[in-house]
């Protein structure tokens, strides 16, 4: 159960890497605070509280679960803490702002999708050049939608790819 990293695939991986870097620059040029989805503000607020040592809490009282606690900040019980922890980690390691850290995480996960799809296509016998063409469309689509869904896509594709390879080997 492993990815087909063999010598024959190296030129294609180089091309994918080039696409990924170019796309990261392209998507990075779009960065703006107003570009962050409203739900992502909850993740950012929790990340900020984690960095400040306040725990898994939010300063945005929006859901009934928050109102029930009657305090600010309120313990975040609506969204899971994984992504805020990741944002806080990137922020602490790189010094990037929390918003930029979130954006960078989403771009990286987003760009992992075409790479995984390429391996999947290779595995199912699609011509590699056509595979590159198909996955390259992934580098552009729907960058306006909710960031956490990009991460979910990446995880889905990872498991599907693993499942596919498992079937073959």
């Amino acid at each position: 159960m492993k990815y087909p990293f063999n010598k024959k695939n190296i030129p294609y991986i180089v091309v994918l890497f080039f696409f990924s870097v170019a796309s990261a620059i392209f998507l990075g040029s779009f960065y703006s605070k107003s570009y962050i989805h409203s739900d992502a503000s909850q993740y950012l607020s929790v990340a900020e509280n984690i960095v400040q040592g306040a725990g898994i809490k939010t300063n945005i009282i929006y859901y009934q679960q928050h109102h029930d606690q009657s305090t600010i900040p309120a313990t975040q019980t609506v969204f899971p803490p994984g992504l805020p922890a990741l944002i806080a980690t990137v922020h602490l390691l790189t010094g990037l702002s929390l918003s930029v850290s979130l954006y960078a995480i989403c771009v990286i996960f987003f760009l992992a999708v075409p790479v995984q799809l390429f391996f999947l296509f290779t595995n199912t016998g699609v011509n590699k050049v056509y595979g590159i063409l198909i996955v390259s469309t992934c580098y552009m689509f729907s960058y306006s939608t909710d960031n956490k869904f990009r991460i979910r896509i990446t995880i889905y594709i990872y498991y599907i790819t693993k499942h596919s390879l498992y079937c073959q080997y």
């Binding site: 107003s34 950012l44 300063n59 009934q64 679960q65 296509f121 056509y130 063409l133 469309t137």
Partner: protein, 340 residues
């Protein structure tokens, strides 16, 4: 849900330990989170689906229009309504070619389709079923439970699976026309251009939206131009709002990204059964010791079922202010109030 249905079906077909293992792993992963959400929804709203089923306001045509719009937001086609651009022309050409091939060999088409699907890999078959089931479930709940609300982010997760199927069609096609290199290249190039032109339209749309006054960044622009105590309202809020006296606003989540100050919002009725009338609003204001309220009028849609429970905002927009409110600033766009 679609994962659960798919793997349950596979188990009943194969009835072996491998399919049982898949069912157990993927079904439990897919079931645990929705189950927790259902319990949470029922606890807070009295309904498993999370709030009222607000369907009376929309027709099937409106729902279909909403779905069509969200597909445009994903693929880029018809994003400008009836305006036809390169993306739509490319799409028409590809669809016309496919349609022509079907008409030429109309009797063989079902057999051809069946044989193509028969040649699909397990992953592609799974993708096909997953997309079909997911879309059916999403559209069903959109029509029956949420007033035709349908968001592109729901179907975004299906995009890679769509590409998996597409790659399989390419593979099957190539394997049956191995020696027609030029024709194969032209076919793939045409489809590739069709994809990319749609994405280009999407790109243009987002650039235009970012430049417009209606962009999400416009939350700051209007309050930057309001002067309170010789400073902009933005700065005034940054200086005066703390955790002991947060701001009540109808755009809490988006505004927080810009201001990073403690914010409180009325929960929409999708997530609560609380009716935010003047009494409930006053209770909440006292609970958090709120001093100011900022209402973005143009973002509060009083006709929307989602905000049906926010009676306090409806009252103040109609200039029906309770006696514990002092209006500091009131325009077509912004209403800024102080608690007396």
């Amino acid at each position: 849900m679609s994962l659960m249905i798919y793997f349950t079906y596979k188990y009943f077909i194969y009835r072996n330990s491998s399919s049982f293992k898949n069912l157990l792993i993927l079904m439990s992963a897919a079931a645990v989170i929705p189950a927790l959400l259902f319990i949470r929804n029922y606890y807070y709203t009295g309904s498993l689906t999370g709030g009222p089923s607000v369907t009376e306001g929309s027709t099937i045509m409106e729902t279909l229009y909403a779905i069509r719009w969200q597909f445009s937001m994903l693929f880029g086609y018809f994003i400008n309504g009836v305006d036809i651009g390169i993306a739509e022309i490319s799409l028409f050409v590809v669809l016309f070619l496919i349609f022509s091939l079907c008409v030429i060999d109309i009797k063989k088409f079902p057999i051809l389709l069946k044989s193509i699907i028969g040649l699909f890999s397990e992953v592609a078959k799974f993708s096909l079923v997953y997309i079909a089931l997911s879309l059916s479930i999403l559209i069903y709940f959109s029509i029956t439970k949420s007033d035709g609300y349908f968001n592109a982010r729901y179907i975004m997760v299906l995009f890679p699976f769509f590409l998996i199927i597409f790659s399989e069609i390419v593979r099957v096609y190539m394997e049956s026309h191995t020696k027609n290199y030029i024709r194969n290249g032209v076919v793939i190039f045409c489809i590739f251009i069709t994809f990319l032109s749609g994405q280009y339209e999407l790109y243009k749309y987002h650039i235009a939206e970012r430049m417009s006054e209606n962009s999400t960044g416009s939350l700051i622009y209007p309050i930057d131009n309001i002067m309170i105590n010789d400073m902009s309202l933005t700065r005034y809020l940054e200086e005066s709002i703390t955790e002991t006296n947060p701001l009540l606003t109808n755009k809490a989540q988006r505004l927080w990204v810009h201001l990073r100050i403690p914010l409180v919002s009325f929960t929409p009725n999708l997530f609560t059964r609380t009716i935010w009338d003047n009494i409930k609003a006053k209770e909440m204001i006292e609970k958090y010791n709120i001093k100011y309220i900022l209402l973005y009028k143009k973002y509060f849609n009083s006709q929307s079922k989602a905000f049906d429970n926010q009676l306090f905002y409806k009252n103040v927009i109609n200039s029906d202010f309770p006696d514990w409110i002092n209006v500091i600033y009131n325009s077509d766009e912004i209403l800024f109030m102080e608690i007396i």
